[in-house]
C-alpha cells in the first residue's frame, strides 16, 4: 500500500471513530432515559397483572371473550423492533425468534403488525400480509398508541379474525443482556400472565419478594367479577403491550450503545495500527533514500 493510501485510510478510520463515539454518547443518554421509563412502568404492570392473575382463579376469566382459547387457524404477530440498525444482533434476534414462532403456519394465515421498520421489512419481503406498520422513531411512547392497537387486536380476536395473538420483542435484562422473547398476548391465560410478571419482577432486589403469585381464596368483589374482568381484561392487554414496547425501547438503546462502544474502540485500534504501519513505511522510504544518496556519493568519490 502506498503511503498516501494509508494516510487516507487513517483519516477515514478516525472519522468513523468520531461518528461512533458521538452515537455512543447519544445512545447512552437515550438508554438511561428509556431504561428509567421501563423501570418505573414496571410496578404498574406488575400490579395490574397480579390482580388479574389472582382473579383468574375464578371461572369467570375462562368465559371472557378475550380469554377464550380455540383451535388456531389464523395468527396475528406483533413484532417490536427498531427503525434503525446499528444495534448489534438485537433486531435479527427478535426477527429470527418471530420467524421461528410463525413457521408452523402458512404465510397467509399470519398477519403482521409491525412496530418498527426492521420487522416490517423482513416480513413484507417474505410475503406476509402486514396489517399495520408503525414507525418507531420517537423515544417516548404514548400509551394511547398501544391502547388503539390493543383495541384493534382485541376486536379482531373477539370476532374470530385471529385465533391467537403473539408478540415478539426483546426483553431488557441489563445493559449487556437483552433476550429476544415471544409472548402470547391473546387469548389471556394465567400461565402467560404469570410468565410476564416473572419477567417484570427482577430476580433480586427491591421487588423480588413479589415473584410468587399467590391466589387469594376468597375475594369479595364489587360490583361483581364479571364487570371487574370486563374492565380489567382489555386494559391488561394494552398494558402488556405497552410494557413490552418499553422493554423493547430500553433494549434497543442499550444494544446500540454497546455496539457503538465496540465500534469506536475497534476503530481506534485500527487507526493506531495503521499509524504504526504508516510510520514504518515512511521510515523505510527515508532509509532507502538516505542509503541511495550515500551510495551515489560514494560512487562519485571513487
Amino acid at each position: 500500500m502506498a503511503l498516501k493510501d494509508i494516510k487516507t485510510k487513517i483519516q477515514a478510520t478516525e472519522r468513523t471513530h468520531k461518528v461512533a463515539r458521538a452515537m455512543e454518547a447519544v445512545s447512552a443518554v437515550k438508554m438511561r432515559k428509556t431504561q428509567s421509563v421501563a423501570l418505573t412502568g414496571r410496578p404498574y404492570a406488575r400490579a395490574a397483572l397480579q390482580i388479574l392473575a389472582r382473579l383468574s382463579g375464578s371461572a369467570d376469566l375462562v368465559r371472557h371473550p378475550l380469554a377464550t382459547a380455540r383451535d388456531i387457524r389464523r395468527v396475528a404477530l406483533v413484532i417490536l423492533t427498531s427503525d434503525k440498525g446499528l444495534a448489534g444482533a438485537l433486531n435479527s434476534g427478535v426477527i429470527m425468534a418471530a420467524a421461528k414462532a410463525v413457521a408452523p403456519y402458512a404465510t397467509d394465515a399470519v398477519t403482521v403488525y409491525a412496530y418498527g421498520r426492521k420487522g416490517e421489512e423482513y416480513f413484507a419481503r417474505r410475503g406476509y400480509p402486514v396489517a399495520r406498520a408503525f414507525e418507531n422513531k420517537k423515544d417516548t411512547v404514548e400509551i394511547s398508541v398501544m391502547e388503539e392497537l390493543s383495541a384493534e387486536l382485541g376486536d379482531a380476536f373477539t370476532n374470530e379474525t385471529y385465533d391467537e395473538v403473539l408478540v415478539a420483542y426483546s426483553n431488557f435484562k441489563s445493559t449487556f443482556e437483552q433476550i429476544p422473547t415471544i409472548r402470547r398476548l391473546l387469548p389471556l391465560a394465567l400461565p402467560d400472565v404469570t410468565r410476564l410478571i416473572e419477567d417484570i419482577v427482577p430476580e433480586k432486589g427491591r421487588w423480588s419478594d413479589l415473584r410468587a403469585v399467590e391466589s387469594v381464596p376468597a375475594y369479595s368483589i364489587e360490583p361483581d367479577s364479571g364487570e371487574v374482568l370486563a374492565m380489567l381484561a382489555p386494559r391488561l392487554v394494552a398494558i402488556s403491550l405497552y410494557h413490552m414496547l418499553l422493554e423493547a425501547k430500553a433494549s434497543e438503546h442499550s444494544a446500540r450503545m454497546v455496539a457503538m462502544k465496540n465500534a469506536s474502540d475497534k476503530s481506534k485500534e485500527v487507526a493506531h495500527d495503521l499509524t504504526r504501519l504508516f510510520n514504518k513505511i515512511r521510515q523505510a522510504a527515508i532509509t532507502r533514500e538516505v542509503s541511495e544518496i550515500v551510495g551515489g556519493r560514494e560512487a562519485l568519490a571513487t
Partner: protein, 81 residues
C-alpha cells in the same frame, strides 16, 4: 395504629408506595375506606378523589379521572388509576 402496604400507580408513574394508616376511595358502589387487616377485596373505582393517610400522618390526595381498580389482599392494597 396498624399500617398496611399501599401502592398507588398510574401508567408510567408511581404515585405512592409505602405504609399507610388508611385510604378512602370512591368505589363504584360508594365510598369505602381501607384500614389495616381489610378483607381480600377488589373494587372498580368511580370518578372522584382518593385520600391517603400515610404512616407518618401525612395526607395525600389523588384525582381519579376514569376507571380505576383497587385490590386488597394480605394487608397489601394496590390502586391502579
Amino acid at each position: 395504629m396498624k399500617t398496611f402496604h399501599l401502592t398507588v400507580a398510574r401508567v408510567g408513574e408511581n404515585l405512592f408506595d409505602g405504609e399507610a394508616l388508611s385510604a378512602s376511595l370512591p368505589g363504584s358502589e360508594g365510598v369505602f375506606e381501607i384500614l389495616a387487616g381489610h378483607e381480600a377485596f377488589v373494587s372498580l373505582l368511580a370518578k372522584g378523589e382518593m385520600h391517603v393517610r400515610a404512616a407518618n400522618e401525612e395526607m395525600f390526595h389523588f384525582e381519579i379521572s376514569a376507571d380505576g381498580i383497587a385490590e386488597v389482599s394480605r394487608n397489601q392494597a394496590t390502586v391502579l388509576l
